[in-house]
């Protein structure tokens, strides 16, 4: 049941990420719902399961993206691995700070990788605009994390990666 819920949550987040959210573009940005959901789901299922979901959802995002093939697959798998490492390090996964830090780091890393890949082809860098966009995206992603954490925990339970011994 938990696995099915995780698959449905990730599937819905990925579909919305490539359809509804970019079509709305609130404040001109696309919130990273897939990243937020990946962090929340990875905190609620075993690391090996989270990795499978990460690889598949990342692949769909890469296929929809059209540039930097592998960025999303790599990013999502990295998030799932980091959650596993965080658990092994013995950190308390129930704390809200953990998903917030992971989402903020993920948002920054993905945005930076996309922008760095554009360096050879972009001559003019509107620094103020990019900073503003990044801050808005960060704030929306963090708000989404806080809003979605309770229902996701309700669906997946509180056990997290420790549900399976070892990972």
């Amino acid at each position: 049941m938990r696995r099915l819920a995780a698959i449905l949550l990730m599937g819905m987040a990925v579909i919305l990420q490539v359809s509804f959210l970019p079509a709305v573009r609130l404040f001109g940005i696309v919130p990273n719902l897939a990243l937020v959901m990946m962090v929340l789901v990875a905190l609620g299922v075993a690391t090996s399961e989270a990795l499978i979901l990460a690889a598949l959802s990342g692949l769909v995002l890469d296929l929809a993206g059209g540039s930097n093939f592998g960025l999303w697959t790599g990013g999502m798998v990295l998030i799932a691995l980091v959650v596993g490492i965080v658990h092994r390090a013995g950190l308390e996964l129930d704390r809200l700070l953990i998903p917030l830090v992971l989402v903020a780091s993920g948002t920054l890393v993905i945005s930076l990788v996309i922008l760095v890949a554009l360096v050879p082809s972009v001559g003019h860098w509107p620094a103020a605009y990019l900073t503003q966009q990044l801050i808005i995206e960060l704030v929306i992603n963090l708000l989404l994390t806080m809003m979605l954490r309770p229902p996701v925990r309700l669906l997946l339970g509180r056990s997290g990666p420790q549900a399976e011994s070892g990972v």
Binding site: G28, A54, L63, S67, T73, V122
Partner: protein, 265 residues
């Protein structure tokens, strides 16, 4: 599950993910793309449509005060365009007659394929969309795509029943374009922040705000004369080789739903 078995599972999954990325990078994801086209794309089509409707509603809410002013401006523009259309019809008829007399081919109307946007790039910086028509509809890479009467991008990747469009506002977009009024040529480039710039215009060429910018039709599959937008401002400095101009376009990625792929003439 003991720790070594779990570690092995993690390594296998990570290796599979890496293999998929490598396969995608070298264009060997045929079966995966087929599944993608026939499962994810149809589902996301409905959500994209809902997103466009929601985006329009939000946009209208925030622009209520500006709508009346915009309406008046559009009425004036409409009257002006109808007048130009009538004049153009006369010119076209003269042009066809002269071409016939000189034994040249008479320019035909554009052949277009209508398509619906089913998917968008998932981030805020890159500007790609996927449409539900592909090589089966005669689409090939490099073709121009219009929406609302203006060029919105070019086809960069084609599958049997879907195609990917790089939008004009993508930072890597490049296309030869010209000022329709003065014939000044330049390179149209997308910019971060959804801007458009006409670059590499010769210092001796004339270009001014309000001029229409169209495709130049140099090389590739995009025909000449597709409207891109209007010149908003011109950047000229005596100590640089080229001039550049900011181009204003009516096109917004968030309102994009139906598009037309220009197949040829």
């Amino acid at each position: 599950m003991n720790r070594s078995k779990a570690n092995r599972r993690i390594i296998v999954v990570v290796a599979l993910g890496a293999a998929l990325v490598v396969a995608g990078g070298v264009g060997r994801l045929g079966p995966v793309l087929w599944v993608f086209e026939h499962t994810i794309a149809p589902v996301s089509r409905g959500f994209s449509s809902a997103g466009v409707t929601a985006g329009d509603a939000l946009s209208n809410l925030t622009r209520v005060s500006a709508l009346a002013r915009e309406n008046v401006r559009l009425e004036h523009e409409n009257a002006d365009l109808r007048q130009r259309l009538a004049a153009d019809a006369e010119t076209r008829s003269d042009n066809d007659l002269l071409r016939k007399q000189l034994g040249l081919d008479v320019a035909g109307t554009l052949r277009q394929a209508a398509a619906e946007v089913v998917m968008y790039a998932p981030d805020s910086y890159r500007q790609f969309v996927i449409i539900n028509k592909g090589s089966k509809a005669g689409i090939v890479p490099g073709m121009g795509v219009t929406a609302g009467g203006v060029l919105i991008g070019t086809i960069v990747d084609v599958q049997p029943t879907s195609s990917r469009i790089m939008l004009v506002t993508d930072p890597e977009f490049k296309l030869a374009a010209k000022d329709q009024d003065t014939q000044a040529m330049g390179i149209l480039r997308g910019q971060l922040g959804n801007g458009l710039v006409l670059d590499e215009i010769g210092q001796t060429d004339s270009i001014k705000p309000g001029d229409s910018v169209t495709t130049a039709g140099l090389g590739g599959q995009v025909p000449a004369g597709l409207l891109i937008g209007k010149v908003q401002s011109v950047n000229t400095h005596s100590n640089v080789v080229f001039q550049s101009a900011q181009i204003a376009t009516e096109f917004r990625v968030s309102g994009l739903r139906f598009v037309y792929v220009v197949l040829g003439q």
